[in-house]
Symmetry: D2
Subunit: 341 residues, 4 copies
């Protein structure tokens, strides 16, 4: 039996750990041949692949990125996409695919299964916003990096008597802001799920200054003030995506500076959060995802995605998995509010 | 209302995060007074306590150790222990206790509750061997440190063409060995739950050498060869606990050296695994444990322990919590075997 | 004998290590009393001080920031500044001062010495731009942090096939850019000392893409294109110092995006580089600076600054020390060019 | 022109950084061909080599170990060694060699140059014990790792009220012990250069306990009590080098335990100190060493070794370089004593 594996979407620490686990288990347990397709769905579309052996995955567990490369290519937006994939798989004698990626990649995996191609999905989103799984690999690494930065920024904020606004990733869900904010001792945490009241934020900041401490505000890139994103005019001027990167943090630091008369600075962590070596937690999770994806293939159980529930790896239907976004529930946010100000 | 908090047993990253969360929520949400008892159960026995305010917990989230100190004192092995505690709490007007600790500390918490003293438990075991909770804080930090060491040892093993045996913590349960071994790419993982066959280990090591790679064996301090601990004679000679620290790793490296004729070395990570700043994961978990312990006190729900189930913090009866040891199940160990050799 | 110590200027990892060393040596070796003045020169101006004992410095070696606080107060811009300091020192029986700070703080130290107040300086500049010493503490930490970020950004740049422009600290000198760029494997390094030709940078970037790798450009915040800073219009719009933080990096990423048609992103590391725990290198250097500053006081050798030359700590006249800026020499930059493209 | 490069001796972070720099500069600046010889002097002896191109060194800067492998083979202990090397170099058209290694490797480099083979040396010793250079790469990484461990052990020592003896590398020179001890806030530092008086150590430990703190003793593996190594009987029993790894630390912890009645533990950091990714400092130093070694070859300046003096890379005669061991001078040790107890 021959199986193919591919990685789609943005960079995420743990991709290589999944590839390694799939390869080891496919070869060692089942005696399969494992083939790697390059650059996401582009690989199966163009027949761009190479066999992966045990030695190819010897040294990749701890390394960021993906040895297979990635892309956002969508076969359903490509002429005869599904047909071309079907032909490539037939020509190369591939019996099944393991697709590692986010909503888009898994959406394609679902449709291909509906179209009769056997695919098993492995969820990948740094934002941890997939409803069907407790956690996704990459998230713990992103939180770890953001928290390390908060630890460092704390002493600078204190000795400069400044407010620091730290913008972290999270366009639609505030999980990275919530967890890094809790772990880094943030004095205010702002998430996309709850439009924030600027005056309330300033009140928290003031209280912090009155307690003779420097406030650190963690804000998700997708957080917006009441009144909505159009308030963030500054950001719009930027010509290459700097809105997403620098918008709300820069704007909020500006607001705080004017309202409090204290120096305020914005730090935008940006891409540093999504690259490099995975944490031990993410390596274990990614490895287990890979192993269980192979089990699903062995069972001929296609159209499913592996997921973490408690300490168990389970399978959920791709249809359900990609249905809804997992956002920060009110009660989780309320936990964090105890530490505001 | 006044509540007391204490920490018992060995060092574990995250203790201060719990103390901080208890203090913040007790004061900010409920307007309680929070009192810290020193050195575990010794504090309530001897009335050794001090009030904790918001400023006392400002700077402790990221710091290892415990600002309250710790001990292994057991009031039930002290004359009139429970009575003395009851009197101290009455004298100081303490309405309830939050006890952070492992099996012993929580065992005392349970008995005190049975004796009519209101106690809520927060589980603490670096070994992650408590059945009632998915994870305990400190464990992720220990795995993180062991994994970092494995990452470093890998290149040395390769360039010296040597076998390296890395002994990690875990006397009765192999969780640290399993997770750090998976995350660090160990070529063999040995846990207390499964007495190992030395020849099988040597075969894996040989296979590794034949593949032109250097083998790294992760062994829990409590792992024993078939035939049992008495085989580990070398260790017994040591006069101050070096058996526990250095026993099986040293012995196994010796066996491998003799059987393979290759240089073999043992590295005993020891206490480095249980100290210092907690990982972001452990800070979040410890913080949430502290918050929910306060909720339990507010509900007058005593004799319970907070626990992690999935992504939720729940309460379990201390009676059940301390009943059985959570060991590595066969299927989890089988997952790892795919990477042996 | 009683000596005072103070810290001035911006945050810099290692300040507490100096304070600890001064305190230990002053008390243990000489039996002096050590007094800490708060918030830089504001302390001696307002008599804001407290005695420092051995226990006060027990736990500060590894911690960022400064337990004494800091400020940019300049007694020579304060009415009767020097006179007020002289009076405070007389009233408090302070025989000498150890001033830890950058150009401004040391400039004041020099003038006070000229005015008959005994001061010994300890150099502090994250930018490593002080001519009289091989290195200053804080610099190695900043380079370490920037390098860790480059390690992480590398995999993301590769898997996104993107150009990444990483802006690091360095307004007038490019040392952090040069060292972190060398250590992080940057494909282009731009420093304030050499106005860069945008087309040349784009050619290097193009070559990199042609080699099928993603380019990472490290740019010091003070680097400017030929034609000068006024080219960086984008930055000017920002109302609270974002020019300094985000100017050139954002601008250059934009230029690259337009010229190459490839996605380009700017990451501005900002304050993360100057806070938190110092590296081992900086802790040793800061500690030795503190010890030798006490020696200078003991010798009554005032108006000097301790400095690193090779592996020795020496004394240089403050007059010479603050005279000129140490910039990156041409031959050091030429070393790095070997790795461009 | 064609040059060969090889790495000899034990693992040391930075080896790959040297190889990368040699390759980049040889190809980009001089248009040479660069050839890598495998496993130290074994490569040139057996003609085991392969060409190295720009892409071969793209991804190795941050990685520990050496892509060329290493060995302790000595051509002068091999029949016709030098002749065989001369013939291999002639056959492969190699004009000069760059040898990266410690005393042994450089000793061979010197003799080969005397025998008319052009060799330039790059010093490599984790112990920093080479007289001709201020620092060698790998040392800063070892100190960094040991210091991180000390940071973690501190909180455990405190909360267990225990003495911890931390044994670090350094058989003949105490540089790692001195620097990590200073950076990690050790309360006693013991080095091979000064046989220690056990009672004096115990007095320091006692004083520490009396101050209500837990003592941490950093001891170099080569440190010996007055009376000499034969005192360390315990170690001798071990059959595979455990003396070197565990000897003095274990023995000393035992002595302290018996003398003070306090629990004492030994932690032997061992190989963790010499592997894995280099610090930024070591990457810069190793890179500069590689660049300047190529300069020496270009100048036909053989029989020399590159060395760091202040911030400059200079050349020293191999004859002088390997003559004497650089040990910790009395005054450097005296600096550290200020922090004892």
């Amino acid at each position: 039996m021959r199986i193919g594996v591919l990685t789609g979407g943005g960079d995420c620490p743990g991709l290589n750990a999944v590839i390694r686990a799939v390869t080891r288990k496919g070869i060692e347990t089942h005696g399969w041949e494992v083939v790697g397709f390059r650059n996401g769905w582009q690989g199966p579309l163009e027949g761009d692949s190479r066999p992966i052996g045990l030695n190819d995955v010897e040294d990749i567990l701890a390394r960021g990125g993906t040895i297979l490369g990635s892309s956002r290519t969508n076969p359903y937006k490509t002429e005869d996409g599904p047909e071309r994939i079907r032909k490539v798989l037939a020509d190369q004698g591939i019996d099944a695919l393991i697709a590692i990626g986010g909503e888009d990649t898994l959406g394609v995996a679902k449709r291909l299964t509906d179209d009769g191609i056997g695919v098993v999905g492995v969820p990948k989103t740094i934002d941890n916003d997939l409803a069907a799984t407790d956690y996704t690999f990459g998230f713990d690494t992103a939180v770890h990096i953001a928290t390390e930065s908060l630890d460092r920024l704390r002493t600078t904020a204190e000795s400069h008597h400044r407010a620091l606004v730290v913008e972290v990733m999270g366009r639609h869900a505030g999980w990275i802001a919530l967890h890094s904010g809790l772990a880094g001792g943030a004095n205010v945490i702002l998430v996309p799920e709850r439009p924030f009241n600027v005056q309330t934020v300033i009140d928290w900041v003031q209280r912090r200054f009155e307690r003779q401490y420097a406030p650190i505000i963690v804000v998700a890139e997708g957080a917006v003030p009441e009144g909505g994103a159009e308030v963030l005019v500054a950001g719009e001027k930027d010509s290459f995506g700097h809105v997403r990167l620098g918008g709300v943090g820069t704007w909020l630091a500006d607001e705080i500076a004017h309202a409090t008369g204290k120096e305020s600075r914005a730090v935008v962590l940006g891409h540093v959060q999504r690259g490099g070596t995975p944490t031990a937690y993410d390596r274990v999770l990614a490895t287990r995802f890979g192993l269980h994806a192979v089990d699903a293939v062995a069972d001929g159980d296609f159209g499913v995605m592996v997921a973490l529930q408690g300490t168990d790896i389970v399978r959920v239907k791709l249809a359900d998995a990609t249905a809804e976004l997992k956002t920060v529930p009110l009660e989780r946010y309320a936990e964090a509010e105890v530490f505001f100000g």
